[in-house]
């Protein structure tokens, strides 16, 4: 399917990324278009999977997720990074991101827990029980300055 995006599509994406709950009517007003035309485009962007979904950003601290960490995971010698390992990592709710990376390490994961002790518990009870994980290297985040997907508008 064709995924070429014109300027109007990018305008829509930009506004919807900043506020996914903007009403279609407001969006149409901002773009000086009929609501039906805008709706048609949004539906098409969803169909084409340009838009993958809509999420609510929740203040982590308010739901007891005060600690953020990045963990590099290396698998045992002789074991390549299997997708099983990745799936096992992804299945842990506290693991919010799983990236397969280049270099000696296999995966980089992003983890949110209530505090450092629950992070350690998670590493002991969940990470270490995943087969073929040899070692981990953890980076604790002290403060997050920016955290948002941001649309980088391609030049047309």
């Amino acid at each position: 399917m064709d995924v070429s995006l014109d300027n109007t599509d990018l305008q829509i994406l930009e506004r919807m990324q900043a506020n996914a709950r903007i009403s279609n009517a407001d969006l149409a007003r901002e773009l000086n278009m009929a609501p039906s035309a805008v709706l048609e485009r949004v539906k098409k962007l969803e169909q084409k999977k340009v838009i993958q979904g809509y999420t609510t950003q929740i203040n982590p601290a308010t739901i007891q997720q005060k600690l953020l960490a990045f963990i590099f995971i290396r698998s045992s010698e002789g074991f390549t990074c299997s997708s099983n390992t990745a799936q096992a990592l992804a299945a842990i709710p506290e693991v919010q991101e799983v990236h397969h990376i280049a270099g000696e390490d296999c995966y980089l994961i992003k983890v949110r827990t209530t505090d450092s002790s629950s992070l350690m518990a998670l590493m002991r009870n969940q990470l270490q029980k995943i087969p073929n994980i040899a070692s981990t290297k953890t980076t604790i985040v002290l403060e997050t300055v920016k955290e948002q997907q941001q649309l980088v508008i391609p030049k047309i």
Copy 2:
């Protein structure tokens, strides 16, 4: 302001995180509540900043963001991690996350660009021009297995 969340709030957050554009009416049906009651709660969650915003997840590849990298940034000797540095990093659109981290390095940033050459251009033209940045260590992501904020429901 009180930020205590009861079970109904968590139900709302869980559903809205999975789909920020769920209609208030549908949400009310799922929770067996009147739409007005649910709306009242959502507004309150917004006021209390439990809900920080609503965003649209865009398939990065469709907007020419095919490369994802994490970069560790170390500042020059004798210079502590100033918030100026962080602000300068955050101002770059391709830099989607800026975390101040523990340990020898200062910042961990998440960057999305079209390809490796544009990443290198960004590092040369933008990162290296920020004062007091001594060195960088880049980790290229080959494949992203999971990438979504996920609500970890606290035990009640």
